[in-house]
């Protein structure tokens, strides 16, 4: 079915929007935080990467569904 490809493409795009917004918000807050407290920049960076990684992980699951749709 061609619609499966369409759905996979749309799904990948939409999950990327979600991940982009999420990681963007983390980045913005981390920037803000380390600008206010430069001495905490190291800790903030570590937790930023952890949170970004967790969002990334969730996005991968969404992408896996898209891949299954496209390949089924």
């Amino acid at each position: 079915m061609e619609f499966a490809y369409l759905a996979a493409g749309l799904g990948a795009g939409i999950s990327m929007i979600g991940a982009g917004i999420g990681i963007g918000m983390i980045g913005a807050s981390a920037m803000e935080g380390s600008a206010r407290q430069p001495e905490a920049a190291g800790d903030i960076r570590t937790s930023m990467i952890i949170s970004a990684g967790l969002i990334e992980g969730a996005t991968f699951f969404a992408l896996a569904i898209c891949i299954v749709l496209a390949f089924k």
Partner: protein
């Protein structure tokens, strides 16, 4: 079997490129097409185009018997049985013969005359070669580094020179910012060697992909799965009684909630290495795909608007590729760091003996 899994997983994540390569599988091989899927996948040879093509040994198990051949050609030209077959749509177009002897089929996929493949294919492939090379490099670099430190510290001298200072920066960074920060001061020294090994192996593998003729083995899902499995094993071994209690029966939670919570926690054990695997693999494979896609734009323009436009458009796409390469250098370090970081985090969570003064609610 492992080759099957590898092929499936790889082709799954490269779905966007598949339409491109499906077009390429016409009866005549169009030199303007780039086989992105083929460039990303694992091979039974090392390609030093245009200088040489080194075939790698084949180790196969067929009918309960192990067979060893120094190269694919040696396996093909054996007396009985081994013929080649191409797994993609067109078996014929990419296999070429000369004087009745089969030479270098592109996939090097070996099947018997009846069409059956080997039960088990443990051949040394290009990704494995680069993986092992990175292991050897880590061994050599750190062996040398350690002996240098021993010698200099015996004389009471400080580290000197680019080699020592470069690696000292990275080693201290991993020890302090990754191991100490995530595992805690009591146990971090025990796991620092593993974190250093995994960081530098991934880093070297990623950087190999940027070298001429190099392949980054981390863009192979099997390699990253093995690395994640190592982290998984170490995490479970590091796990304290406390950790297992939290996984199997979270303390301070109503009994009926455990029906939901325990399966989720057990699932969580396996999603962690899965996410590690996919993160590294997807990032590295995507980087490779991006470079090939941008280079492919030249050929696309040449196809649509004619060769001259294609040639001129290269002035745009080549600097773009260089830019992507610069990002890939950054991503090589970042992904190695992220992998080591998450490994440290998981190990730290498992190894922590936290007292039960905090509330579980």
């Amino acid at each position: 079997m492992s080759a099957d899994v590898r092929r499936t997983l790889l082709s799954m994540l490269i779905v966007s490129v598949c339409t491109l390569t499906a077009e390429a599988a016409g009866p005549e091989v169009n030199p303007k097409r780039i086989d992105i899927l083929g460039k990303l996948s694992d091979h039974h040879y090392l390609d030093f185009k245009p200088l040489a093509k080194v075939e790698l040994p084949r180790i196969l198990r067929f009918d309960g018997r192990w067979e060893f051949y120094p190269s694919t050609t040696a396996a093909l030209n054996r007396e009985d049985g081994w013929t080649d077959a191409y797994y993609l749509a067109n078996p014929d177009d990419l296999v070429f013969k000369k004087d009745g002897i089969t030479l270098a089929p592109v996939t090097y996929e070996l099947v018997r005359a009846d069409g059956n493949g080997p039960d088990f294919d443990a051949s040394i492939t290009s990704h494995l070669v680069w993986f092992l090379l990175s292991g050897v490099l880590v061994f050599v670099v750190f062996g040398r580094l350690a002996s240098k430190y021993d010698r200099r510290s015996a004389e009471g001298l400080l580290p000197r020179g680019a080699f020592m200072n470069l690696f000292e920066t990275l080693v201290v960074f991993i020890r302090d910012e990754v191991a100490l920060a995530n595992i805690g001061p009591d146990k971090y020294l025990r796991y620092t060697p593993y974190l250093l090994t995994v960081f530098f192996m991934i880093l070297f593998m990623n950087l190999f992909g940027l070298a001429p003729w190099g392949v980054s083995s981390t863009s192979d899902v099997m390699i990253t799965a093995v690395l994640a499995l190592t982290t998984f094993a170490i995490t479970q071994i590091a796990g304290t009684r406390d950790y297992w209690m939290h996984v199997l029966a979270m303390p301070g939670v109503p009994k009926f909630m455990l029906v939901i919570l325990t399966p989720v926690e057990i699932l969580g054990l396996f999603t962690k290495p899965f996410a590690l695997t996919i993160r590294l693999f997807a990032n590295m494979a995507a980087g490779k795909m991006l470079v090939l896609s941008i280079i492919g734009m030249i050929f696309m323009f040449a196809e649509i608007f004619g060769d001259t436009v294609g040639l001129v458009s290269a002035a745009v796409w080549i600097p773009f590729t260089v830019f992507i390469y610069a990002i890939k250098i950054f991503a090589s370090f970042l992904q190695a760091y992220v992998f080591a970081m998450f490994s440290a985090l998981f190990i730290g969570l498992a190894a922590a003996d936290h007292s039960h003064d905090h509330e579980h609610s």
